[in-house]
Symmetry: C2
Subunit: 155 residues, 2 copies
């Protein structure tokens, strides 16, 4: 069965309180260590043995920035598709309540928490978008509260 791609959404289409559920993605040891080698080269992100010896983690865990990147991928590939794209203005809160380990399967729930017109950019609104990413056991591994620039519907 082919999934019909969602039409792009504009500011006017999205009400506060709307919830989007993303697909899921599995995190492999290879992606954890490859990402870490470039962006977060610390022993507990690079090597199973070094991770095991770490007092906090007790095993190889993903960089929080990899988890954040995967949450972004899940959002971009979800039905929450903005016309003109999602331009992040900033994050007010980003938390990693639990580590992500090899073999974990992540998915997110995205909720629109607020919207207002942009004062500085005509043709745009700003939405507060909260994301909760969980693993296959329903345990929360990331929460994020973002402000995103969202285009108005073209005239």
């Amino acid at each position: 069965m082919t999934k019909v791609p969602a039409s792009p959404l504009y500011y006017e289409d999205i009400e506060v309180g709307r919830v989007f559920r993303t697909g899921s993605i599995e995190v492999t040891a290879e992606e954890i260590t490859t990402f870490a080698a470039r962006y977060d080269p610390q022993p507990f992100h690079l090597d199973v043995t070094a991770g095991t010896e770490h007092r906090v983690f007790g095993g190889l865990v993903a960089s929080g920035w990899l988890t954040a990147g995967l949450a972004m991928r899940l959002m971009i590939l979800s039905d929450f598709k903005l016309g003109g794209g999602a331009v992040g203005l900033g994050i007010d809160s980003l938390r990693w309540p639990r580590p992500v380990r090899p073999g974990d399967r992540l998915s997110s729930v995205i909720e629109i928490k607020g919207k207002r017109l942009s004062e500085s950019k005509p043709g745009y609104g700003i939405m507060r978008i909260d994301t909760t990413t969980t693993n296959q056991n329903g345990e929360v591994v990331l929460t994020k509260s973002a402000h995103v620039l969202v285009p108005l519907r073209p005239l």
Copy 2:
């Protein structure tokens, strides 16, 4: 001249107000598009032409999550080396005041803004660490305020 690696720092070694300056790193178009293909697959992060047509950016720009990953790399490779590693608890503010474009060279200033002992994890403190990342023109491309778990000096 070989640079002597910095000794690892522990909670007790780092006073509030201390500032660390990182090295620098150049951002290439290839890294921008490769990162985006996996973590932020939007036209203005993937393709020069699509970026040029974008109303906000007017050219290929790095995903904000790539900029955050590069800021992390710069910190890990700096003299701000924590014994036991830097375990991020969360981010209270993350902003991207200006886009990062191919050829930009980034570096960061890291400032210790606060420290306290952890109540839940014996042997650890928690530091508030602010990062400002600028491009080769001194323009700020990222600001970040993080809480990081920092090991106490082993007995």
